[in-house]
Every structure is written in structure tokens, then in C-alpha cells.
Amino acid sequence: MKRNFRNLRTLSIVLGGLAIVSCGDAKTDEAVVGTDKPLIAQVDSNQTVGIVSIGGQVFVIPSPIQTADLISKSNAPFNTDLLNPTDNSVNYTNNFRKALNMGIYGADLGYLAVYNATDKTTSYLKAVRGLANDIGLGTAFNDELANKISESLGDESKMLSLVSEAYKTADDYLKENKKDDVASLVIVGGWIESFHFACAAAVATGNSELIERVADQKSVLKTILAMLKQYRDNEEYDDLAIELEDLNTLFNDITYTYEFVDPVTNESEKVTKISCKHNVSITEAQVKEISEMVKSIRNEIIG
């Protein structure tokens, strides 16, 4: 009995010490960096932190919003048929499809924002919030965000910034909680939808910058496949990766050339200009072929 008590006392002292040390650090950090309140829920501190493994790579996927922005600037007409209808959102029954479509609706929100299609924004935000709640990301897409978006309707830049911040908060939360697999689906969903926009706009307008953006997805796709590789033990991830690998083969006959040019740095402006040459040779038929396959993969995801 005495021994048990001693054991208990040892544990209490150690755990008590831990609590004191942890609280002390939290206070110090807060004092140092300011008091911005995180939008996300309190993370369970018993879980291991979702830190990237060293020796591996961190995968950076360009923002779907940036591609939507390019499309609107290319004078491609707004096309509501390109969006995933919000009615579909209730049909996604498993987390795999919920996460993918949360990414898709995020890209749709970006598309609506750059075209100032404010009448549809509320319903798309509602669809995103529904899916976000289902996969435990409700705090990133909370009432505060909805109010801010409502207040910024018509202010494209502010809208885009708010949507990006919400997705960043969600991404951070998922990675903190070791749900990098789910985070990757949200990213893939956003990417495939923006790729779908770019393909449709490139085919419709013949705009050279959009066509080049389609060809540029070869590198992004390679990064996406590398990111998904670690989750391919799961059948759904594997199926998705197989489809993307098929898409990847369509880029094989596109010709790319690259030439290094010395960058120029402006120290006072803190900017470096990178002018390396990059040329792409892609035919109209190749654009159409890629466009068709992207549409097919995307339509399968949205159901």
C-alpha cells in the first residue's frame, strides 16, 4: 500500500512538473509574438505534432485562387456550368469525398470571387461549411468568417484573402492533428477544380497564357503524385493516384525547354527578379485531350 502511494506520488510530481513547465512556456510564447486568437479549436496536446519528416519533401501546390484570378483576367466569360452544384454537397457520405469536395468548393468560391458573382457566394460558403463541419474543421469556417465574407462581398481581394486564410487555418489544423492525408485531399480537390477551370477557359478562348498554364500543370501534377504516394496503401487514395497517373501520361509528348538566367536582386525593395526562360510547345489537340481527362476525373469526384 505504502509502495503504491509512493509510485503515485512519483507520477504526480513528474506530471505536475510537466504541467508547470508547459504553462510557463505557453505564457512566454504568447508574450513574445502577440495575442492573435487562433481560429482553430484547441489541439489535443497528447497527440504527436504533425511535423514534416526530415529527409522527405514538403509539397507546395499553387493556390487554386491564383489560377481563377488568371482566368478572369484573360477575359474568359464567367461560366456557372464549371462549378460543382451546391446541391451535391449532401451526397458526399465519406470523409474521402468530403475532403476532396471541400477543396473543390473552395476553388469554386475563388472563381466566384474573381468574377464578383456575389449572388452565389453564400450558398457555396454554406456548402463548404457543411463539409468542413463534417470533417472536424468547423472552427476554420465559423460564423465570424461567414460574417466577414458577407461584409466583403464585392471586394474581390478581401474575399480571396478571407477564403485563403480559412483554408490555411484548416490546413494548419489538419497537419497539427496528424491528418496530413485529409489535408492532401483538400489540396488535390482545389487543384483539380482550378485545373478544370483553366482547361475550359483555354479551350474556349485559345488564350496563350491559359494554354501555358495548362501545360505547366505537369510539374504540379508530379508534386501531387509525390504527395499522394505515402497514402496509397488506402484503396481510395490509390484509385485517385492511378487516375492522375493516367493524366500524367498525356504530358509526355509536350515539349518543355528551360534556360537559366542570372536573377537580379533589388536589396532595398527586398525583391528578386527571376527571368529564367521556359518555353512550352503544346498543340490544340493536346490541350483538348488533357481537358477531357481532367473533366472526367473531376466529374467522378463531384459525383
Partner: protein
């Protein structure tokens, strides 16, 4: 008794490490974010919109994190990084696909953020490590934003 003590110690160290890493990573989030949104940007009538992702790595002294990035042409990007309360803990280098060095913030006093005007689409690798003269280990956060004019 000994076993309980050892178990308690292991649990404590593990939990402390996890909690500490968590706190460190969380605490530098707003700092990294602030580098994407500076007063100077407002004056210039522009903003940098995050790509919606958070990049982070817990680095020890001999470790480097590697980020594979595609930058689109006709765009300006900002890379922001932080590893704590001082703004010069992180060294990062940007290479092209042929390992030509395009930029190192080490040549600019470990500047926590820098802008890149990209003329043509380019695939890059960003290598990130701690400046060991300033910090030996810790969480590094990196954010990437693209420029957009304010309305």
C-alpha cells in the same frame, strides 16, 4: 517501482517534447503571417494572398527541410519564414531544377521575407535550415503568398 519511474520519465519527456513543439509551432504562426501582410504592402496598394497551406518542419542542427515549388510566370510571390521571436533565425535558399542558386536570404541578413518576380513559370526547390549561430533547433514555419492589387 523502478519501472514506474522510468515509464513516468519517458512519458514526461515525450509529452513535454510534443507540447513544447506544439506551442513553438503555434506561437510563430501569427508572426509568419504578419510577414505576408505588411504596412508597406498597403501603401503600395497590394496584398499577398496565402496559397492556403502551412509549411512547417521541426529542425535540429544538422537538418534541412526541402520544399518542391512551382512558381507561375507573370506573378510575384512572397516567401515568409519564422522560427521564433527573432526574425533572423531561418536561412533559406531557392534553387532552380538544375541546382542553380537563385536566391539566399543569408546574403540579406536572413531576411524573414522576400519577394520574387517570376517572369516565366519555374520549378524550384527551397531548402530551409536554422542559422546555427542563432538557434540550434526548433519549429520552422514557411508561408507562400502571391501578389494581388488591392481593389
Amino acid at each position: 517501482m523502478k519501472l514506474v519511474k522510468i515509464l513516468a520519465l519517458v512519458l514526461t519527456i515525450g509529452s513535454f517534447s510534443s507540447v513544447y513543439s506544439q506551442l513553438t509551432c503555434d506561437s510563430i504562426a501569427s508572426l509568419t503571417n504578419s510577414y505576408l501582410h505588411t504596412e508597406n504592402d498597403n501603401l503600395k496598394g497590394r496584398m499577398f494572398i496565402s496559397d492556403g497551406q502551412v509549411y512547417r518542419a521541426f529542425l535540429d542542427e544538422d537538418q534541412t527541410a526541402e520544399f518542391a515549388v512551382t512558381f507561375y510566370g507573370n506573378s510575384t510571390y512572397r516567401i515568409a519564414s519564422s522560427a521564433g521571436n527573432e526574425d533572423n533565425f531561418v536561412i533559406y535558399e531557392v534553387y532552380d531544377k538544375d541546382r542553380n542558386l537563385l536566391f539566399s536570404n543569408y546574403e540579406h541578413a536572413n531576411a524573414p521575407y522576400w519577394d520574387f518576380e517570376i517572369e516565366n513559370t519555374i520549378d524550384c526547390t527551397i531548402e530551409v535550415r536554422l542559422d546555427l549561430n542563432k538557434k540550434l533547433s526548433g519549429c520552422v514555419r514557411m508561408m507562400i503568398g502571391f501578389e494581388r492589387a488591392l481593389n
